[in-house]
């Protein structure tokens, strides 16, 4: 066991994956000697050299497009897009090509690649550096989307993403990079993509979240227990697509109440999908309407007001109490 933060855990996963499989290639802007603007690729260029840790020209579409070619040829590219706010440049390559090659070639050509990008607000960054648009990718058939919430699951999920036979979007909650440390086991772990984790068992209400919003969710859960004597069950989705319907409905069947929390915009956000599945499968078990605490349907404000935009424990607590007293 070693204690580390999420940035270090992601770095460790890259190091392990590259050591284990010579086909794993890291590419992106400033991932080489600079070791990434968040230092996620620390030590990799020095260890593996410029053929496996590639500083590309400044072109996101170029990065993802060439990674698709590499993946089809047999490599396992792990691309870093510097900030998720710049991955719209390469969305076309993902939507029109990475997501479709397997389907249009009836399984003959596949694209086993990973796009990593730091996403989300809360670090007082400049414009275009704080978005949370995972729903776009979840809405793109053919892509998988995973989002870790802590060091241990970050390392395990990245291994799963790299080993996955299909393109995986791996969004990193940048606000959590150095927020806390956690024990990470010596042996390499994976987590099945498409499986959520029940991080806390409870009986009265299900709180469903992922990524950076897990912090606000856990904090609110603590208040619910201490102040209201309520036993919340907490689900960390981890995998945004495929979504783990079973774990969600099993919990809601037990609690009869749920709140879904994420920082991306509300309309067509992940909460909408989660609630739709709850309605489809366990409507008769519900004691109250399922509420959602999300970012608003506006671009995340510049940093002077970003905290008002983000879900915080107060907002989660309010929603949970409303659900409980329905």
């Amino acid at each position: 066991m070693a204690e580390m933060n999420m940035a270090k855990a992601i770095n460790l996963a890259l190091l392990e994956a590259m050591t284990k499989d010579p086909k794993v290639i890291v590419m992106g802007e400033d991932v080489g000697p600079d070791e990434g603007v968040f230092r996620i690729t620390e030590g990799l260029y020095a260890k593996f050299g410029g053929d496996r840790v590639i500083d590309t020209p400044l072109a996101e579409s170029g990065i993802i497009g060439t990674a698709i070619g590499m993946a089809i040829y047999g490599m396992k590219p792990v691309c870093e897009i510097q900030f998720s706010g710049f991955d719209y440049y390469n969305y076309h390559q993902l939507e029109s090509h990475a997501a479709r090659f397997r389907n249009r070639t009836r399984g003959r050509l596949t694209v086993p690649m990973v796009m990593r990008a730091p996403y989300g607000g809360g670090i007082r960054a400049l414009e275009h550096h704080s978005e949370s648009r995972e729903a776009i990718y979840a809405h793109t058939p053919g892509l998988k989307v995973v989002i870790p919430s802590g060091p241990r699951n970050a390392r395990a999920l990245l291994h799963s993403a790299i080993q996955d036979p299909d393109p995986v979007i791996y969004y990193e909650p940048k606000a959590c990079y150095r927020l806390f440390r956690e024990d990470v086991p010596e042996t390499m772990e994976t987590l099945p993509i498409g499986k959520a984790q029940v991080v806390k068992q409870g009986t009265d209400i299900t709180l469903i979240s992922y990524g950076a919003s897990m912090r606000a969710t856990l904090e609110a859960a603590e208040s619910l227990e201490e102040e209201d004597g309520v036993k919340p069950e907490i689900i960390d989705l981890l995998s945004i697509c495929p979504l783990d319907t079973d774990t969600i409905i099993e919990s809601v069947r037990k609690t009869g109440r749920a709140v879904v929390i994420h920082e991306g915009p509300r309309t067509c956000g992940l909460a909408a999908e989660v609630i739709a599945r709850i309605n489809e499968k366990v409507l008769e078990y519900l004691e109250a309407p399922v509420l959602r605490v999300t970012g608003y349907d506006v671009p995340i404000p510049y940093f002077s007001k970003e905290q008002a935009y983000l879900p915080d424990s107060d907002k989660v607590l309010n929603a949970a109490r409303k659900t409980l007293s329905f």
């Binding site: 400033d30 600079d34 400044l58 579409s61 309309t267 608003y296 349907d297 404000p301 107060d314």
Partner: protein
């Protein structure tokens, strides 16, 4: 069939005032004394503002921002050739040009301190705001130029002096697809756009040699079918001259030009960057000796346009101006009108649709439970005066 070479235009390099302040008299552009002082003033204002913002950032009084120090000659030498009716489409190191165009210093400070109000161009200023994503602004510049042509033709095409667009991008941006598309559109549609490339040789940590294999960025102009030239980007006279010729061509209806300005990013990429990780300090020091400001000051002094004493007085004047603007901006940072989080809903569409109004009410009620009522009508923040003197 014999193989035969295809003749292509040659690419020139232009330098007028070298790093030692030596002047090529034959190439010296004719600029009146008042204009020369004005150019120097805005370069200085940008430099001092940038330095001041760096101090503020280190003190936690400013957000992360990309420094513009070292890029003043490119911005000022080019922008000085356009008029109020023309358009300015910046990237993010054109501080001198923004101030000269009439953006209040307070807007600059607001923008980099996390207030959207700073990105709002002042009334009557035909500028787009700073563009943080890379190269995408170039397509907007091409589009504005295309619209100018369409408007001009719809009016009979009789205008002798056409309007122009001045736009900016970096060497890193030259790798983006948007850059290619913008240059090609501008060429195909003969758009009156001057593309100013700030080649500062680094895209964060990636040096030019890893960015491209061509010797110059300017030579790409040949491929698009427009004139291209490379100039010393620390020589404000060379930038001025090249931009002047490009603007004249555009005004006559002869289309776009690509100007590559060679400089060096003497500062980190942004205040969050540490260049020691990827380049030697000696390299940076060497380029600092080629700074545009001292050589321009020496030129002005030798020419008898601005004595050392006058220069010092100007510096004091500029510093006073910055001090007042910082004070004003810091008052604005505290004003409830700007801090009101409910204003995040007000400008997304012309009207606030019902679902968004519902979210706005929800956030208002949320703050009320915390004892803060943002719905009270707030005094509107006063728009500061232009920094143009």
């Amino acid at each position: 069939m014999p193989r035969k070479p295809i003749e292509l235009p040659k690419i020139e390099y232009l330098s007028i005032l070298n790093e030692h302040g030596e002047l090529d008299k034959e190439l010296e552009p004719k600029i009146d004394n008042k204009s020369l002082i004005e150019m120097y003033r805005y370069m200085l204002l940008a430099r001092r503002t940038d330095e001041r913002m760096l101090l503020m950032q280190r003190q936690g009084r400013c957000g992360t921002f990309p420094q513009s120090s070292g890029h003043e000659a490119i911005s000022m030498g080019s922008i000085f050739n356009i008029n109020k009716n023309d358009w300015h489409v910046p990237a993010y190191r054109e501080l001198a040009g923004l101030l000269w165009r009439g953006w209040p210093l307070e807007h600059i400070l607001l923008y980099w301190n996390g207030f959207e109000e700073g990105a709002s161009p002042p009334e009557g200023v035909n500028d787009l705001p700073v563009c943080v994503p890379i190269a995408s602004q170039l397509l907007h510049a091409a589009g504005i130029g295309m619209a100018m042509n369409i408007e001009d033709r719809s009016e009979g095409g009789k205008k002798k002096e056409k309007k122009v667009v001045m736009t900016y991008f970096g060497d890193g941006a030259s790798s983006e697809g948007d850059c290619h598309e913008a240059l090609n559109f501008a060429a195909v549609f003969n758009a009156p756009v001057v593309f100013m490339c700030l080649n500062n040789q680094y895209a964060i940590s990636v040096p030019l040699s890893k960015q491209m294999k061509n010797e110059t960025i300017a030579q790409r102009a040949v491929a698009y079918g427009m004139p291209g030239i490379k100039v010393d980007g620390n020589d404000v006279l060379a930038v001025y001259q090249a931009a002047k010729e490009a603007v004249e061509r555009a005004r006559k209806g002869e289309g776009p030009t690509l100007i590559e300005c060679l400089t060096y990013r003497v500062t980190p990429h942004t205040t969050a960057d540490d260049p020691k990780r990827y380049r030697s300090e000696d390299e940076t020091k060497e380029w600092m000796l080629r700074d545009s400001l001292p050589r321009f000051a020496k030129y002005l002094e030798t020419k008898g346009v601005l004595s050392e004493k006058e220069r010092n007085a100007l510096e004091e004047e500029v510093d006073t101006q910055i001090k007042a603007a910082v004070q004003n901006a810091e008052e604005m940072f505290k004003s409830e009108a700007l801090l009101n989080p409910l204003n995040m809903f007000d400008h997304l569409y012309e009207d606030v649709p019902p679902y968004l109004q519902e979210q706005k009410d929800e956030l208002r009620d949320h703050f009320k439970t915390k004892g803060k009522d943002w719905s009270n009508p707030q005094k509107k923040a006063q728009t500061p005066a232009s920094s143009r003197q």
